[in-house]
């Protein structure tokens, strides 16, 4: 293991469908391309909603079961899970977070995926999930390159690092 060997390729797995589940993978993939690192994004399980047409513009923050969540801001009071379950809470938290991201020029998910695609990263969906959810290629955004089996994903990731998010 050589500590100073630069990273030349990453394959990032996005397995969760919440806003905080999807964005880190997108930021990492985009950041990789900006550094000249080859990048692949692989969406699986609920993470698949990140690349589903008419759904990936409605991705929300999970306000339930998130003990780190605070209101009204990151240094505010802890939000009890029961409050997080009140209708509209997730929408409000999502709205606030989107507003903050807009300020620092992090694009909305559909636009971000276009940017990542144009940057030359591969965007893939997991075959097992596609079958399980009864989806076809038409259900996906045009930037989704291909539905891959896990075996094909490993082939595609050859010679690089795999990051699971």
């Amino acid at each position: 293991m050589t500590g100073s060997q630069p990273i030349s390729k990453v394959s990032i797995v996005v397995s969760r469908g919440s806003l905080e589940g999807i964005y880190p993978g997108l930021i990492m993939a985009n950041g990789a391309r900006m550094e000249g690192i080859e990048a692949n994004l692989f969406f699986t399980f609920f993470g698949l909603y990140g690349v589903l047409k008419n759904y990936n513009d409605k991705i929300r923050v999970a306000t339930v079961g998130n003990p780190a969540m605070r209101v009204p801001s990151a240094k505010g009071l802890p939000m009890p899970t029961l409050l997080g379950a009140i209708p509209g809470m997730s929408a409000i938290a999502t709205w606030m977070m989107n507003k903050e991201m807009e300020k620092i020029d992090i694009p909305p998910i559909p636009e971000f995926l276009e940017m990542i695609h144009d940057a030359g990263a591969g965007i893939y969906a997991c075959k097992a999930t596609v079958d399980m959810f009864h989806l076809t290629k038409d259900d996906f955004i045009p930037q989704m390159d291909k539905v891959l089996t896990v075996g094909e994903f490993y082939e595609q990731s050859a010679g690089g690092q795999i990051i699971f998010t």
Binding site: I27, R33, M34, P107, M115, D118, A119
Partner: protein, 104 residues
């Protein structure tokens, strides 16, 4: 702080080769830094460099990809074609501005 000679002019640069004194920058220096990065500057490159220059004067930071798209009107694909392997980093370096400090 390191120094570097370009066509008889001395410029101040940091460890990574980014210029630290923009007043020393000119188009000949830009072309020389670009050559070092394997890029021959064309009018399409200059459109990007001019936007960075203009935006830096206004905002004090190197614009990110989204700002390049939305405000500069320069598509992501073009940026990657013009400045391969690290578009904004390379464009910032050639423009004589600091390495971009944003994640996006």
């Amino acid at each position: 702080m390191a120094q570097k000679q370009i066509n008889g002019t001395t410029i101040d640069v940091n460890d990574e080769g980014y210029m630290t004194n923009h007043s020393q920058w000119n188009k000949v220096i830009a072309a020389t830094i670009a050559e070092e990065e394997g890029i021959t500057l064309t009018p399409a490159h200059w459109r990007v460099l001019d936007f960075i220059d203009h935006d830096f004067q206004e905002k004090g930071v190197v614009p990110g990809m989204r700002r390049m798209n939305k405000v500069g009107g320069i598509p992501t694909k073009d940026l990657y074609e013009l400045f391969p392997n690290g578009p904004i980093k390379k464009a910032a370096k050639i423009s004589g501005y600091p390495k971009p400090a944003s994640c996006v």
